[in-house]
Amino acid sequence: MYPQQVHDYLQKFFKENNCEIVQGNEHYMTVQLTVDMDKKIMNRPFHWQYIENTNGVPDPAQLTLITDQTKVSKNMKGEVVHFGSPRLSQIFHTTRELGACVQMYERILNNMETRPILTPWLGVNYKVSYYCDRTKEMLYSLGINLMTGEVINGFQESIATKELDDQKSERAFLLPYIIKPLRALDRLDTVIENLIQQEDHAWAEEAKSRWQKDQEILEHFYEEVEEKPECYELEKKAMEEQYGAKIKIDIINGGLFYIR
């Protein structure tokens, strides 16, 4: 992420969370946090506990974030934020928390003659991570039609072009779902497992052979020792943790979508 992208991201993030940007240009911003946002990103639980217990006046912080240090005056006081900085990862984390579950309706233009029918979908964005002594991650955006059970891959991209609102427009007609959302989630969970199974898992085999090689070396070292010392077991355990293959499935976010 380039400084400009970071800047845009922060601006959007604070705007969506009702934090007013009181000052700034395209290289820095001074933002007045809300009480909620202060609690989320300022890491001062004891401060808030104190304010609340003493019925004090809430005093959410004002933050100055500099997104391009080379373009602001040297004397400017503020926190430099860039890709990889702890502050930005914290904001990514908060974004994820505040954008986890949505319910959205496709926007209906008023000049339509008939009442358009909107079909319910469950959309879920999965992150799949492969772990051994190395890692790789994949993103799957799956959607399931709650009427027909049809599943599509690339769901998020397919709705990106649509205008969505969090309120249903009066003229829209919503089809009730036949498949319950939780049942649908189970189905998507199965689909994702099948997708994983079809992938090439040479990585796990390779990790296993690295493991075996190290294991042989270790066995050779302790070959003559009848009663194996504690560190022998410890080494074996370390190898298991180092090379043992595992897959982690995370849901980034998901929601109900009523679309045409």
């Binding site: 002594d133 190395r134 991650e137 270790l218 070292f221 003559e224 897959i247």
Partner: protein, 510 residues
């Protein structure tokens, strides 16, 4: 295959379906998806860490080391770059990579006490890794990245506290301190689980090839076979071995080493001189008397004390006197005492220190800042006095100085005084690139100590050629030390790799 899932999202979804919680913001939903998509690690290989560290510009060889260690050595390696090439940066890159990839969470870093702050600062400011320095009451359960001194770690109750943690990665700086498998610290590290492990040392062999064997056996037991098979396969004894090419190949599977000249960075050169010195007649007389001691009294029959006295006599009468006087107290017969007194009396009347005069000559010629390394505190004090009498200003430097005193002394040396006189323990962790003359007033037995000393000056940032003067007095124990240093260097070069000059290169004639 194990598949892990979390039900966290599902729980949140259910609570919305049941109208217990409001639905979330659509823009944040999209931002979150985009952020994850942008930050996705799409490949098993390659480094992610550089793009997370826009303010750090690692050198090409440092990136290469990080990649090699992760992709070829599976995260267990000895980082053995020559001094001054940035092993800390390499370790930081590797650690950062594992943290980003989620393979490492808890990390223990062991370093000499004097380097703890430096580690904490570098990790925090250069790598955004929230490392903390361990103090007596630090509760290590709550901190993921802890930097601790080896001396603390190996002792109770800290030892037990560490064993109770589940560390994913262990990093050990100045790992040559683990050369001896009979030490407490070795045993302690052996008892640590090492899923990923980095051992940092510019000098994986200090005195003999077994040190490297034990170091590797700590990292990867069995890589060089058991002690017996290792010894017989390479006919290894302390200072010689066979099949060194094969051994070198094995070693290179777990060790990365960059040499200054290979890094593509412009390095100034080292100009090493061995300077032979002749004792005065009077000095020689005392030296010979000292050699006589072992025939006169059983107090002096121990090889160790004799060697110490000889070395001290090559250094200064002040150093010699302290030891001699202490040993005099163990003498019982009047003859013994009389003989020792005779030496002391001769010693005290010495007016010339040939070596110190040579030092004065070198400093005068250099007409520049100079560092002198000596093995003895008494010699340190003497040299300061002697140089002062010649109108040359100097500051002392010891490893025992606390951080602020070290900084102050360094400052004085940089800004005001011409000479810094350091004892051995002053060698670690100070960087003095503004100086380019090093006098090794006394020679240590261990060639890597010389390398460490020179490394204080000859490191990244040095703009001039560095002049090194190794002083050795003719026909004394110092000649023997010099010869042994060459033998040890030869073993090092055979197994570990070439070294920049430490001694002059007439070794072939020995």
């Amino acid at each position: 295959m194990i598949i892990e899932r979390s039900s966290e999202w599902k729980d949140g979804f259910i609570s919305r379906l049941e109208n217990q919680k409001p639905w979330d913001n659509w823009t944040l939903y999209k931002m979150s998806y985009e952020a994850v998509k942008n930050n996705l690690i799409t490949d098993f290989s390659g480094l992610q860490s550089p793009k997370y560290l826009p303010n750090l510009t690692p050198l090409a060889h440092q990136l290469e080391v990080a990649e090699t260690v992760i992709s070829r050595m599976n995260g267990k390696a000895i980082l053995a770059d020559e001094v001054g090439l940035g092993k800390t940066i390499e370790a930081g890159l590797i650690l950062k990579e594992y943290l980003i990839r989620g393979l490492v969470k808890k990390v223990l870093i062991l370093a000499p006490a004097s380097l703890i702050n430096q580690w904490v600062e570098e990790l925090n400011y250069k790598f955004y890794i929230p490392a903390i320095g361990y103090r007596k009451n630090t509760s290590i359960d709550y901190y993921d990245v802890v930097v601790m001194s080896m001396d603390t770690a190996k002792k109770s109750p800290h030892k037990e506290l560490i064993y109770a943690q589940n560390y994913d990665m262990i990093i050990i700086d100045e790992a040559h301190k683990l050369k001896n498998h009979k030490t407490k610290i070795y045993e302690f590290v052996q008892g640590l689980k090492k899923k990923f492990c980095l051992l940092l040392t510019a000098t994986p062999i200090q005195n003999n090839v077994f040190e490297l064997f034990y170091l590797i056996s700590l990292l990867k037991p069995g890589h060089l076979g058991s002690y017996e098979t290792f010894q017989s396969s390479f006919s290894a004894s302390k200072h010689s071995l066979e099949h060194d090419e094969y051994l070198r190949e094995l070693v290179n599977q777990v060790m990365v080493r960059n040499r200054r000249e290979e890094t593509g960075i412009e390095w100034t050169s080292r100009r090493v001189q061995t300077i032979p010195i002749e004792f005065t007649k009077e000095e020689r007389e005392v030296y010979d008397l000292i050699l006589e001691l072992k025939n006169v009294s059983s107090v002096f029959s121990g090889a160790f004390s004799m060697i110490t006295l000889q070395k001290e006599m090559c250094s200064s009468k002040e150093a010699t006197y302290l030891t001699l006087n202490k040993m005099r107290q163990n003498c019982t017969t009047p003859e013994e005492i009389a003989f020792v007194d005779h030496i002391i009396q001769k010693l005290m009347t010495l007016e010339i220190n040939s070596k110190a005069e040579k030092v004065y000559e070198i400093i005068s010629q250099a007409n520049d800042k100079v560092i002198i390394f000596t093995e003895y505190k008494a010699s340190q004090v003497y040299l300061q006095w002697y140089l002062n009498s010649k109108g040359i200003t100097s500051v002392p430097f010891n490893g025992q100085f606390n951080k602020s005193k070290r900084e102050y002394m360094k400052h004085l040396f940089k800004e005001k005084f011409q000479v810094l006189i350091a004892t051995e323990s002053g060698g670690e962790g100070i960087n003095l690139q503004f100086c380019h003359h090093v006098i090794n007033y006394d020679l240590p037995w261990n060639p890597m100590k010389l390398e460490q000393r020179i490394g204080r000056v000859h490191r990244l940032g040095q703009e001039h050629d560095v002049h090194i003067y190794n002083l050795a007095i003719e026909n004394t124990i110092e000649k023997d030390i010099l010869e042994l240093l060459y033998v040890k260097l030869d073993v090092f070069e055979k197994v570990v790799g070439e070294l920049d000059d430490i001694l002059t290169t007439f070794k072939k004639t020995i």
